[in-house]
Amino acid sequence: MRVSSHSRNLVPQAISNSADPEKPSEGSVELEHVSCRFGSFRAIEDLSLTIRAGEFFSILGPSGCGKTTILRMISGFIDPSAGTIRIGGEDVRGKRANQRPTSLIFQNLALFPLMRVWENVAFGLEMRRVPRSIRRKRAEELLTLVDLVGAEDKMVSQLSGGQRQRVAIARALAVEPSVMLLDEPLSALDLKLRQHMRAELRSIQKRTGVTFIYITHDQSEALAMSDRVAVMNKGRMLQVAPPHEIYHNPSSGFVAKFVGETNVIEGKLVRIADGFGTVESPLGQHRARVSHNVQGESVALYVRPEHVDVSRQRQGDNAIEARLQDVSFEGSFALVKAVTAHGHVFLVATDNNDLQRLPSNTENVYLHFDEQQAFLLQSDREQCIT
């Protein structure tokens, strides 16, 4: 059981069931070949996805790629043009938003400004005709859960951004959903608060055991909070995997570039052996891991800045000659920009302590990377054609 003793009395029956072996999938969500069109515009194309009960699942993608559309289909505000959606194993076709076991937290929170905080939290219970005194008690309990004791009788307009966030979470939890759907709920907060709320959300999810489907366009948020991350673009799902897998072993160039900084070398695949491939490019020949299928000759080699080293001497095969140009201080580390004779730009992340030991920008240096930490993928250009 994920449920801690602290919040046991808050845990709805339905959620405790999620740990029950008899009914293992109360909070699971399955999308099967789901498409969604607005007129002729295809917002979601043939998307299949399985989200396990009790999981913190993030959907990551650039603005306008269809993330909100997916959430709205799950919560019942729009019907998919094709495909099936199952919640807890049950097909929810034809069920309205107010009949589904989901709670949506809106991008702008959508708190009711004319109601007090506790009335907001208890709104769902009011709709279920729970008596007022019980509603009030439940609202107080939930406000305790989200660390907002004493705000019951305030108006929403009197709260700060972070507090409103908590009210929205409490309001969504009040109806004891099996699935919580969160649409970029932190995007309006400032950086510090955002980081704090990340941890808070994660801990609330752990305590309640509710499935969280969390939408964001911020990769660090997705990587930090989630059990699994789905990366999507232009209405299609690109990769679904745990965060480290997404980061270290992306399935496509788009995922590699979207999830953190990366260096790219475009070139021709000359050979593959033992899971490693060799790329030939104007920068020379370089070797990298091949873990996803590569078709055709045109490939790209990706290596993250923190996996690139700088030295004055050439060491080993995976080396590139360049000159250092710029250093940008990023706090715990520094990003160094290096440019090759061809004008190709590389980013190198270094420890701040090493900054003094860096060569000056007048001498040639060598950039190295380990073939284990670089990966080969089909070139994005090739992909566009197929």
Binding site: R72, F77, I78, D79, R96
Partner: protein, 264 residues
């Protein structure tokens, strides 16, 4: 956010609503083209223009039309300057004085037309001024000027104060500020309020009925009213059709002009 079924219900409701709003006007206008003794469209007896000819030959109608236009022009000439001045005064004030004055100036808009008409009539009768179209003008001005004030006030509010200050900073005199900054800014509101004043005056009934005096000084609205009361012929429908067409034409061109000026 809406499911298709709900959108369909919505569109159906709105279609019925529009039909409800427009069909009566269509029936009324259509009746003038029907070759029937009564104003009706249903037993359709064939197209006729005889009601238009009857209308054309009705000299009382022409007199009433002339009166209406004269009154409307008078109202525009008086209501636009006074309403604008009132807006300036209001916008220069603040606090309770403003609230009170604002309430007093807004009152005529809400007050029933009949009451305004009667109070105008009585007030001028005290000063031994006989009723007539001139009183109609004054009575109408009292509430139409308030409408003008509302329109101008809304526009004045959007005038950036720093713009005036910048102009003065650049050496403009007050007159120049008015001439080059304030009035150009107000121009759309002034045009709109002149149009509103004209239309409101043309269609005014309550105030005019009480203040116009003898029946020789009909306005178009009062004339239509008395025609309807004293035995209907479809020539009133002919007049109605003409008025509906003219307003339709004016409003659509106005709306189209505004749209095209908004675009760039």
């Amino acid at each position: 956010m809406f499911r298709h079924s709900q959108i369909k219900i919505g569109h159906l409701y709105l279609a019925l609503f529009l039909l409800y709003l427009l069909l009566p006007l269509g029936v009324m206008g259509g009746a003038s083209l029907n070759d029937s003794r009564f104003p009706t469209v249903y037993p359709w007896m064939g197209l006729t223009d005889k009601w238009f000819i009857a209308l054309w030959n009705d000299s009382r109608m022409w007199g009433a039309l002339r009166n209406s236009v004269v009154v409307a022009i008078g109202v525009v000439l008086l209501a636009v300057p006074t309403g604008t001045a009132a807006a300036f005064v209001i916008s220069s004030m603040s606090g309770t004085a403003r609230t009170i004055l604002y309430g007093a100036l807004i009152a005529p808009v809400l007050a029933p037309g009949a009451v305004i008409g009667i109070s105008t009539l009585l007030f001028w009768a005290k000063l031994s001024v006989p009723p007539g179209l001139h009183l109609s003008v004054l009575g109408q001005v009292s509430y139409i000027a308030s409408l003008v004030m509302l329109l101008v006030l809304a526009r004045l509010r959007s005038l950036d104060a720093s713009l005036e200050e910048a102009a003065i900073d650049l050496g403009a005199s007050h007159a120049q500020v008015l001439r080059y900054i304030v009035f150009p800014h107000l121009a759309p509101a002034l045009t709109a309020s002149a149009a509103v004043a004209f239309f409101q005056s043309m269609e005014n009934f309550n105030i005019t009925l009480f203040t116009r005096g003898t029946s020789s000084s009909d306005t178009l609205t009062v004339y239509v009213f008395s025609m309807v009361r004293g035995g209907v012929t479809p020539s009133i429908n002919a007049l109605a059709l003409i008025i509906v067409s003219v307003t339709l034409l004016v409003t659509t061109t106005f709306a189209l002009l505004r749209q095209s000026s908004k675009r760039p």
